[in-house]
């Protein structure tokens, strides 16, 4: 804005200098002493149709030795009398746009959690092991894909496929060489739980050594710009990822309910000895579940890495949410994990409409507690008979 008059005074009101803005609308005053100064814009020198945003035409600034200090008088078109001030209107629609976006983000996060939760739930369901190392299995998938992607130089898609396969194989190996041996020795589930804390520490810091402490991203789809779909803006990768996640969840869920191995897995969960007596090869079923669980966890990790980049603690950081999702849905059911995790994801994101984002997990966790109070068996869990 050219030609507006600005008067600079000291804080107590002694005039220092008066200037007029130049063609770019900027101005400059040299002051002798550091201290607090007042800059006042002469409103009458503004063009007819402009006013200062916020209304006040005075800025009080601190100027420090040897430094400059900037003051800004933002202008906006004057509203015609009787018309509402701009900025008040549209509040409602922003709210709904934001709500839509957050709901989308809730599904986005919820599906990733669900995928991770499914793996956990499968392993918990069949072996009774509360696997605190599950977060690390998630990280493992992401890092394996990173290794194939950035290390070897494959495109992310084949790298991801390889990583999922490799993680499945590692899951198999883990059971074959480790957990299975422990079971054979008759190690109790409590001891196994603590052992899994040990495994978690072990893996997490192996990652730190090989991967390093910093955040990394995949070579492709990094910083992909978003597209607008209705009120939602999201990167294309998000849509595809969500599609894959949902598909995997539903396929595995149905497989557990319908296929023979799926039913056998639930049978093993209920009563391994009886399962063996029925002719089910318990070890084999558990190994399949570990393979599947490892692979699904890895996929969750890759998806998380795709949407949020990679870090050696990424799995650990969402472990609590995974547990929350599993419990909320009712332990040991695939669809329970899905529903529970979606609820967790949605509440984390949508709650930020009302609570500050730094407390977003609080919102979700409060909801978790409330749901459990109302439905102690979880959303999809069922009550047992007594006596």
């Amino acid at each position: 804005m050219n030609g507006a008059k600005i008067a600079v005074t000291t804080e107590s009101g002694q005039p220092v200098e008066e200037v007029t803005t130049n063609a770019q609308g900027t101005w400059d005053v040299q002051v002798e002493e550091p201290g607090r100064y007042k800059a006042t814009l002469d409103v009458s020198t503004l063009p007819q149709d402009a006013q200062i945003r916020g209304g006040s035409n005075v800025r009080t600034l601190s100027v420090y030795e040897g430094n400059c200090s900037a003051a800004l008088f933002a202008l906006q078109p004057k509203a015609a009398p009787g018309q509402p001030q701009e900025g008040d209107s549209g509040g409602q629609s922003t709210f709904w746009t934001q709500a839509a976006q957050l709901t989308f983000e809730g599904f986005n996060l919820g599906l990733i959690i669900a995928l991770a939760a499914l793996g956990l739930s499968l392993i918990y369901g069949t072996t009774g092991l509360t696997n605190f190392a599950h977060g690390e299995l998630v990280t493992l998938g992401a890092i394996l894909a990173y290794a194939f992607n950035v290390g070897v130089g494959l495109h992310l898609i084949p790298a991801a496929v390889l990583a999922v396969l490799a993680a499945g194989a590692l899951g198999y190996g883990q059971d074959r060489l480790f957990w299975g041996q422990l079971r054979r020795r008759g190690t109790g589930t409590i001891a196994m739980m603590i052992i899994s804390i040990g495994v978690a520490l072990f893996l997490r810091y192996v990652f730190l050594i090989f991967f390093g402490g910093q955040t990394e991203s995949y070579a492709q789809y990094n910083g992909q710009p978003g597209v607008e779909v209705g009120p939602i803006s999201a990167a294309p990768k998000n849509f595809i990822a969500m599609g894959i996640e949902l598909a995997v969840l539903i396929i595995v869920g149905i497989a557990l309910l319908r296929t023979r191995t799926g039913k056998a897995a639930r049978a093993v969960a209920d009563n391994p000895a009886l399962a063996a007596s029925s002719g089910i090869n318990v070890d084999r079923v558990i190994r399949i579940i570990w393979t599947l669980g490892g692979a699904i966890a890895a996929l969750a990790g890759i998806m998380l890495g795709l949407s949020q980049n990679l870090k050696f603690t990424m799995g650990q950081d969402i472990l609590l949410l995974i547990f929350a999702g599993v419990t909320l849905g009712g332990l040991g059911t695939a669809f329970g994990a899905l529903v529970g995790s979606l609820v967790v994801g949605l509440f984390i994101q949508v709650s930020t409409l009302w609570v500050p984002p730094e407390l977003k997990s609080v919102g979700a966790l409060v909801v978790l507690i409330i749901v459990l109070l109302v439905r102690p068996q979880g959303i999809l869990g069922r009550r047992e008979r007594i006596g």
Binding site: S69, P225, V227, A235, S307
Partner: protein, 406 residues
Amino acid sequence: GGGGDTATQTSQSAAPASSAPATKGDGTLTLGTLLPQTGSLAFLGPPEFAGVDLALKEINEAGGVLGKPVAKFDTDSGDTTTNIASQSVDKLLAQKADAIIGAASSSVSESVIDKITGAGVVHFSPANTSDKFTTIEDKGLYFRTAPPDKLQGRVLGDLVVADGNDTVGIVAMQDSYGTGLADQVQKTVTEGGAEVVERIDYDPKAADFSADVAKLKAANPKGIVLIGFEETLKIVNELAKQGMPASKHQYYMVDGNMSNTNYEDLPKGTLDGVKGTYPGAASPEEFRDNLMGINKDLADFTYAPESYDAANLIALAAEAAKSDAGVDIAAKLAEVSKGGEKCKSFKECVDLQKAGTDIDYEGVSGPVEFNEAGDPAVATIGIYQYGDDNTYPVKALEYRTGNIAG
């Protein structure tokens, strides 16, 4: 790394019972580092260790301190979720460290400062920004070269206003570094006449940042100030995803998140035009090359200059005090940091000292002049701008030097 760490521990006879903190020293300047090898700040460890190592290498090449090579013991500070920092300090104290460089996290420093200063050892942090340390009871033994957030915040806020951003969004990491800096920026920006339409403090451990960014988007600020560490990469990604690229909004960054090589992997132009403030007068380029000589895998350089300066200052103070005892070093630290002939490296400074000249160490991270509280009093802030390749040039747009207190 880790060259020249062989300490001469033969002199360690049994400590006499109920001895007061050593005041004489044992002739060897022993530095301890308490920096994150693990935990949530583990990514800060490599540059910080490298900074100290580089300084030590130069010091020992220049003949060491008090005629003997400087010894050093590295320990892990972890983060606050585990209490291993305290154990690390125990170890360093048992090994007769005279000064401890660390920790990165203000919280960790707070939890061990009593222990360190209680033993008469200098506690020197390259990275603590919490204003608590200004008033903390430290027996005069606590110092820091940390980037002074007051000045940086002011410079940054000013820059934001000067660029004509009438609406500003601040996205800050929720810890003392992030919130301290954000508070200062917010204050300056508001005073300058712009409006902070959204201020978001995020939990750095959060699973994702989409809600935070959605909130920012709803406010639609012209300028976006990103304050944090390397997780800023995630936020930049999220901003792009939610349709707020740097081409539409002016981003500003800070020292904590500027020096991260990962931005180079972003699509070209993602950070084009992004501005940032970074303490230190010198171009970081040469220093970085030297650091890479110590650790070729460095991807982030945050706090490396501060760590380097910390080690140099301690060494110079020990030379000036002619003693390697912590209390003596602390007494001289302010003196070598200001008021005298300016010098930039240990060798240069120590030569001046030997010639009897009063020196003023000018560090890589800035002029470093300590006030009575052991905080840096003066700093230089460079303003940089990213180019199309998502890196910023060696040369700053401008440098501003000022008293931190104002």
